[in-house]
């Protein structure tokens, strides 16, 4: 396994773990307040829908779109997605944006779900829909990362396995502790994943645009170091700027 494959697996695993933690918060809130049956059914249907998106789009993109164009488009997508993650992580690390608080989100979801009326019947449509939406929307980011990184590098299987591994690990920990995972260092993970996504995005979109990277795949590591230093300087610089305390509503 080459260095860039390991980096790719780490990026997908980290991104998927972050999104899985966020989805787990919604699923646990729905399960505890509205019952587990409909909640788990909603989550399962969302996972099947996401798997169908990967199964439909992955091979179709690989077989019908030329690799150069694919790398250009997908690299661009990856670059935008990664820059969004990295920007948010830098602002949070420097105290310019409220941290993502799983406990606060959980409390908010529980209060909202408890206030909704429950209809007679074995299935709870509210629990199903909330769980489905939570898992599907968070999962779409995972799908995007898996497809973009997997296809542009020609390692869709590695990316898929890394994402599944992250989902299994987070779900297993969630089942064991039976609550949201607020102790996960989400911002640090987001920073690391953001750096990797921007590095891969720069590399692949650059390849598609005609950039000749010195050292070929090794350039990804160089980009990672460069962006890591830039993020460090940005955090240190922003920490010195006086700020008003961020509100928790800004954490979303």
């Amino acid at each position: 396994m080459t260095g860039s494959t390991v980096l790719l697996a780490l990026a997908v695993f980290g991104a998927s773990a972050v999104e899985a933690v966020e989805a787990l918060t919604i699923v646990v809130a729905a399960g505890i307040t509205r019952g587990w049956r409909s909640t788990l059914e909603g989550a399962a249907v969302a996972l099947l829908a996401l798997a169908a998106v990967v199964a439909a789009l992955g091979p179709a993109l690989v077989h019908y779109v030329p690799l150069g164009l694919l790398r250009l488009l997908i690299g661009g997508l990856l670059l935008i997605l990664g820059l969004q993650w990295l920007r948010k992580a830098i602002l949070r690390a420097a105290g310019h944006k409220a941290k993502h608080d799983e406990d606060a989100i959980y409390q908010r979801e529980v209060a909202r779900l408890q206030a909704l009326p429950r209809l007679a019947g074995r299935r709870d449509a509210t629990a199903f829909v909330i769980s489905f939406k939570g898992v599907f929307l968070e999962g779409m980011e995972v799908v995007m990362v898996v497809l973009t990184l997997g296809i542009s590098s020609g390692k869709l299987a590695v990316a898929t396995v890394a994402a599944l591994a992250a989902i299994v690990v987070v779900s297993a920990v969630g089942v064991v502790v039976s609550r949201q995972l607020s102790e996960v260092p989400e911002n640090a993970l987001k920073m690391g994943v953001g750096l990797m996504l921007v590095s891969f995005g720069t590399f692949w979109s650059g390849e598609g645009a005609g950039v000749r990277w010195p050292g070929s795949d090794l350039a990804i590591l160089g980009l990672l170091v460069l962006y890591g230093l830039v993020a460090l300087v940005a955090v240190r610089g922003l920490e010195r700027a006086p700020v008003t305390p961020p509100s928790s509503a800004e954490a979303a």
């Binding site: 250009l72 690299g75 661009g76 997508l77 670059l79 935008i80 997605l81 820059l83 969004q84 990295l86 920007r87 830098i90 602002l91 420097a94 310019h96 944006k97 779409m140 980011e141 995007m144 921007v198 995005g201 720069t202 979109s205 650059g206 598609g208 645009a209 005609g210 950039v211 000749r212 990277w213 010195p214 350039a219 980009l223 460069l226 962006y227 830039v230 940005a234 922003l238 700027a241 700020v243 008003t244 961020p246």
Partner: protein, 68 residues
């Protein structure tokens, strides 16, 4: 849900996903790639200029997002 509403919701989802509250990142990334592809395809210095554009874009967006 009517097809028009479904299409609107689909478009809104992708707009929020890719543009959201950071249009400078989406526009800047597309512009950097387009310039790289159209103007200087295969030019030697692009491996320096391209990451430099990304760093500038990130710096601008972070600066825009800071609390004053």
């Amino acid at each position: 849900m009517s097809p028009a509403r479904a299409l609107g919701a689909f478009g809104h989802f992708w707009w929020e996903f890719l543009v959201g509250d950071t249009p400078e990142l989406a526009v800047g990334s597309v512009a950097a790639i387009a310039v790289g592809f159209g103007v200087a395809h295969g030019a030697g210095a692009l491996f320096v200029l391209f990451p430099a554009a990304v760093v500038g874009l990130l710096g601008l967006s972070v600066w825009r997002g800071r609390r004053r």
